[in-house]
Amino acid sequence: MSELVQRLIPEFERWKERYPAGFEGSLTIPCFRRIQEERGYVADDDVDALQAYLGIARTQLDEVLGFYTQFTRKPLGKTHLQVCHNVSCSLRGAANLVTYLSCKLGIQPGQTTPDGKFTLSTVECLASCGTAPMMMVNDAYHENLTPATVDALLAEHSA
């Protein structure tokens, strides 16, 4: 049984206060987000515990975890770099930003550095088109990126 989920249940209970009755199933996504915020990923134990708590079909949880790109079932690097490579960012150099990060970190998108510090991903539009190129560093948007600002971010998160 996931101790993490047990610990979070009182918080989940508080969320319910603002939902209409009968909306327990709606909590899947918020709960998974919260679990991932704590653990960095969603562990098998967490899914079991959440299923028991919410009392919904396991298939719904499996489908949710497989459908939404932000959920991960495996630990990622300590810092997750998510580079937008959609249209506006591509028009402002996203491809070379990805190449630059790949070269600097020695990994391809979808990979994690051997020291577990960085995971590099490419993602679709993050609604930061006016400030392209950009990437998310964990939860935070970093915009109008240049080699200098990227180097600074990498240095900051290597520590």
């Binding site: 402002r92 070379n96 400030t131």
Partner: protein, 463 residues
């Protein structure tokens, strides 16, 4: 950290970008000082739900999510007093590539959005309302979460709002990464805690929506307009903009534009003036090649096609496209449209939900064909093939993701067929695959590559 607070000057009426953005201008106190929540006061103290809907209908406001459906007509479908819950949901899943205007509203006028949502709930007799915000939005989420708590504390939400008998709770629901959840029925599936598969109509969501109850889903900007409409009255509202597109449009512009950002534009504004004057034209003084008017799902228009066109829904349609979500992208001369379509199609392939056949299969198919062309392995019939796949998605899918991909592809090929033919014939791009005007990483990457090449050459020499 994020900087969307710059509000470039532009003539015309402003409903949203009419105050200096500061560290605290998004707070309840600041919003109230600007007259915030007076519309809600008016509604809960002196209006009937049907009067609110009537006012919104009279304003003629068109939905700002992309489809430009009259908001009042959507509200009017919901049958009041039918002894079942009704829900209102704010669509803050801004994911249409090129669109970031809702983000500005959520970050800078969260209370205005919230006030619109509460008024909509009053009009539609909703006891619970939802804000579905995309998972990647961190600051907008925190701003809205704080606004909701402020509103609860101030008696603007919860039981007996402003001491009246009207009660409303708001759930701020965060998505987890899915473009298709911006489609209303997929959003409701997601709000039910499921994967975001869109649903067939009928029934309409206003008849059977969230948990099979009548539900109205409105875009952030649409709801943010509601306090304006109620506050000044539909007649005053209609004085802004043009007859068939009243009000203003928040336009986010990006790409090769000199001054990207969010602009509030009165409908009927000159498109060329907007691009060449207000936004400063193209980066590096380049010529404009084409415009993606309202998110990648709208058809591109060439520089010639926006000549003399004004920014409003009818003229945009007449010009051959739509204003869509206001996510405008400018593309400069010298850009390779084949590679641009590759970027666009990679997106649609990535975001296809996998439910219905034409999109599930067609998106990957188009992606593979375009990738093959870009690799230099295109065949002469690939252009027809892309048209065929696009057309076979037109109107045949559950939601409009597949259609949109087709519109994007056919519009680009209609305009720049010669680039595709050239690429296929010669195995390379007419413009060397260029996508950028200014590429901040080009030099650094070339240096890194050179270093690697040198290292390899040296290693080879030693061996």
């Amino acid at each position: 950290m994020s900087d969307t607070t710059t509000t470039p000057a532009l003539s015309g009426t402003k409903f949203f970008m009419n105050f200096p953005v500061t560290e605290t201008s998004h707070s309840l106190e600041a919003y109230r000082a600007r007259g915030g929540y007076q519309a809600l006061e008016k509604v809960v103290r002196s209006m009937q739900p049907t009067e609110v809907t009537k006012e919104v209908s009279a304003s003629g406001i068109l939905g700002h999510g992309g489809a430009a459906f009259p908001a009042g007509r959507k509200w009017g479908v919901v049958k009041l007093g039918d002894n079942q819950p009704h829900y209102v949901c704010m669509n803050a899943d801004e994911g249409e590539p090129g669109t970031f205007k809702d983000r500005w509203l959520l970050e800078n006028v969260p209370h205005m959005c919230l006030e619109g949502l509460i008024i909509a709930s009053f009009a539609l007799e909703g006891r619970h309302a939802f804000i579905y915000i995309r998972g990647e939005f961190d600051l907008p989420y925190r701003r809205m979460a704080a606004a909701i708590e402020e509103a609860y504390a101030a008696g603007l939400l919860g039981e007996n709002i402003l001491g009246t008998g009207f009660s409303c709770d708001v759930v701020l629901y965060r998505g987890a990464g899915s473009y298709v959840c911006g489609e209303a029925s997929a959003m409701l599936a997601s709000l039910e805690g499921k994967k975001g598969w869109p649903r067939n109509r009928p029934p309409r969501l206003t008849v059977k929506g969230l948990y099979q109850r009548p539900t109205v889903v409105n875009n952030v900007e649409t709801l943010a307009n509601v306090p304006v409409i109620i506050g000044q009255g539909a007649a005053e509202f209609r004085k802004v903009g043009v007859a068939k597109s009243p009000g203003t449009q928040m336009i986010s512009i990006s790409g090769h534009i000199a001054k990207p950002g969010v602009y509030e534009v009165e409908y009927g504004y000159s498109w060329e003036k907007f691009i060449y004057e207000d936004c400063g034209g193209m980066q590096g003084g380049k010529a404009l090649k084409c415009i993606i008017p309202g998110g990648v799902s709208t058809k591109i228009l060439s520089a010639d096609e926006i000549k003399g066109v004004t920014l409003d829904h009818l003229t945009a349609v007449a010009a051959g496209s739509q204003l869509g979500s206001g996510g405008m992208m400018a593309v400069a001369e010298g850009t390779c449209m084949v590679r641009l379509l590759q970027v666009i199609q990679r997106f649609y392939h990535h975001e296809s939900c996998g439910q219905c056949t034409p999109c599930r299969e067609g998106m990957g198919w188009m992606d593979r064909v375009i990738n093959r062309i870009v690799r230099g392995e295109g065949r002469p019939d690939d252009i027809d093939r892309l048209y065929h796949i696009s057309n076979a998605n037109d109107g045949t899918t559950i939601c409009s993701l597949g259609d949109s991909a087709g519109y994007a592809a056919t519009a680009i090929m209609d305009h720049y067929r010669e680039e595709f033919e050239y690429y296929i014939k010669n195995g390379r791009s007419m413009y060397d695959g260029c996508l950028t005007v200014e590429d901040p990483f080009a030099g650094a990457v070339a240096a890194l590559r050179g270093a690697t090449a040198n290292a390899t050459a040296t290693a080879g020499a030693v061996a």
